[in-house]
């Protein structure tokens, strides 16, 4: 390929990658965690004893709640199964106005043994939701119609898409020759570059898909507006469901028992496993119930759910667009795209694959930044004196390790702090503060200590931070009476187990980084050993960092 093309695209790759890299690292790392958002939510919810109700009592529960709690008329959710993070069979938000992201004033209702209504305010754990926010925004604060960080990540994803194509163009001439080769030699830059390329090329389709979907997630309103302005004009973009025709009044007495709705649904969709029923406006003209559920044989629209809407008074199925397996072809394409981003096909196996794809993505961005630093390294000439590295590369190296490892440590310590300091302050404030304090302190630490020492210390710190998670679980199990708790279902214990593995791997990574930092090449931003004063180049045993 022509050298001028390669040169142009190399420049493009370098700068788009450099600008987008750190934010993408955070999003990919947090995204890997959101693959098990449901499990994390269960893990982060303190144990609670919930009186569960029988299927036949669902209607009574709904009617009694509506009669005594008018706020529930805006809408409520009937949970069909108990779980660690389900506070009651029936839940609603008594103050739905303030935010569309989280319930502000969650209430739950159940029936006691004598069939009497019991209602209570409860606290939902915000931890899993905050990891999801971190995934969507990279932690960039602010909220308008969307989270502000979502728009930022939309722009970042434009750069990311350019970085993907330009990276591919740069790699093309040597693609076949070097395909899947990782050279672990004396030349550490070669090793990092090979690794960057191999991971990049093998996960190329995944990255193209992520970049394009994030642009849509951020700017779909604007893109729809563009289509409406140029193409659809007076045509409505979306069909509205025809108004309901019912022969009965929409009062609580006329509501059909949920079990009857589910039986109706079963005829339409035998493989659909309903999990919850979200009633909106149950006593209004537009009363509707949206049933969320799983179907492991089909891709689904939500991150783990498909949906179907029904009329709670007639039991008619209203919209099957998002009912797994019954979509029209256009919707099916859209669902496939959503599903590819969320990794919500193929069950837990595919979720784990996505976890590793996410972490591999984070590696690409981290290694990309290190390569930028390495490329600008000032080499010590044979018999030359010690060289001073450029200020810009030192700062970039510090920023990279501070941001990346700060985010990794921040999430872990936030998870543990949420358990130890539970009930001392509002939970979302607690998790947010814990994350941002650790993150910002790590960034400051990286600049203060410099890239070499900073890397060793921050990676070790992140490792210890992750170890606090299983350690907390262990203490909670051994020592009763401490504020921390441990959820002992296999899925939630897997969170603690994964944290243990992550912590140990990070400590090992820190040990290896230390080798290079203190005993590696002296002519590098990473060198932090004894200052070099003699003229002899230091003999180095190549050791893959």
């Amino acid at each position: 390929m022509r050298a001028d093309i390669i040169k142009t695209y190399k420049t493009l790759h370098t700068w788009t990658g450099l600008i987008a890299g750190m934010a993408l690292f955070i999003c990919f790392f947090a995204g890997a965690m959101t693959m098990f958002k449901g499990t994390l939510d269960r893990w982060a919810t303190p144990p609670q004893s919930v009186e569960w109700v029988d299927d036949s009592q669902w209607l009574t529960l709904m009617q009694q709640t509506l009669a005594t709690h008018p706020e529930a008329e805006n809408g409520f959710v009937l949970n069909l199964r108990p779980a660690e993070n389900v506070a009651a069979p029936l839940v609603w938000d008594a103050n739905p106005e303030r935010s569309h992201h989280d319930p502000q004033e969650p209430w739950g209702a159940t029936l006691n043994k004598d069939g009497e209504l019991v209602t209570y305010r409860y606290a939902a754990s915000p931890m899993a939701q905050l990891v999801d926010m971190l995934h969507q925004t990279a932690g960039i604060p602010g909220e308008g119609h969307h989270l502000f960080g979502v728009y930022v990540m939309g722009v970042i994803s434009v750069l990311y898409a350019l970085a993907i194509v330009s990276g591919l163009v740069v790699l093309l001439p040597t693609l076949l020759k070097d395909f899947l080769i990782v050279r672990r030699g004396k030349n550490l830059k070669r090793f990092w570059l090979d690794a960057h390329n191999v991971v990049g090329i093998t996960s190329l389709p995944f990255h193209i898909m992520i970049a394009l979907t994030v642009i849509v997630f951020a700017f779909h309103d604007q893109l729809y507006a563009a289509l409406a302005g140029t193409t659809y004009k007076d045509r409505p973009l979306f069909e509205r469901h025809a108004p309901h025709e019912r022969s009965m009044e929409t009062v609580a007495d006329n509501l059909l028992p949920p079990a009857v709705l589910l039986a109706n649904l079963k005829e339409t969709a035998p493989d659909f496993v309903p999990r919850e029923m979200a009633y909106s406006n149950p006593l209004g003209e537009r009363a509707e119930v949206r049933i969320g559920g799983e179907n492991h044989d089909h891709m689904v629209r939500g991150s783990d759910r498909g949906f179907v809407a029904m009329d709670p008074y007639t039991g008619e199925v209203e919209g099957t667009e998002y009912l797994p397996g019954q979509e029209d072809p256009w919707t099916e394409i859209i669902i496939t795209i959503f599903s590819l981003h969320f990794g919500s096909f193929g069950g837990d196996f595919m979720r784990w694959v996505y976890v590793f794809m996410g972490l591999a993505g984070a590696f690409i961005f981290y290694s990309g930044n290190l390569l930028w630093v390495e490329t600008r390294r000032r080499k010590q000439r044979r018999k030359g004196g010690p060289v001073e590295q450029k200020r810009s590369t030192r700062l970039m190296a510090s920023a990279t390790i501070g941001v990346c490892w700060g985010a990794v440590a921040g999430v872990a310590l936030s998870m543990s702090a949420g358990k130890w300091l539970y009930d001392t302050m509002a939970a979302d404030t607690l998790y947010m503060w814990a994350y941002y304090v650790v993150f910002l302190a790590s960034v400051a630490w990286a600049f203060w200590r410099g890239p070499g020492r900073g890397a060793v210390e921050l990676i070790a710190f992140a490792g210890l931070a992750w170890l606090t998670v299983p350690f907390t679980a262990l203490l909670a199990w051994l020592v009763p009476g401490i504020p921390a708790w441990v959820q002992t279902a296999p899925g939630t214990l897997a969170v603690d187990g994964s944290a243990l593995v992550a912590g140990l791997l990070l400590l090992e990574m820190s040990r290896r980084t230390a080798k290079r930092v203190f005993h590696g090449n002296t002519d590098s931003v990473w060198y932090a050993g004894e200052p070099v004063l003699d003229e002899q180049p230091v003999e180095i045993k190549a050791n893959a960092a």
């Binding site: 493009l12 330009s166 642009i215 849509v216 289509l227 193409t231 973009l237 069909e239 667009e321």
Partner: protein, 101 residues
Amino acid sequence: MAKSKTAVIQPDWISKTLAGALLGLGLAVAISGLFAWWGAGGIDTPNKVQFNMWVIPLYWMTIWSLVYLFRTGLRAWLVLGAATAAAHIALFVTPQILGAA
């Protein structure tokens, strides 16, 4: 690799980037609009609008990422500008051709 000097592509970062960002998006929207009318099922197919919206970034980023192959920023603007204008004119007259108001 012996290329004459005039054949070497100029970086022209700002003008090419603007061409990719602005004209690329304009062209992408027009392509998607043309597909909405002429593509499978036509304009009134339910739910097709979601697909049409979703593919815009695919067209857009493809155009944008290839814009740097133009020899100069000026050529990028001329060629992409002409293509974008042509696509939008085609999109504008499509309802008349198809006889849909």
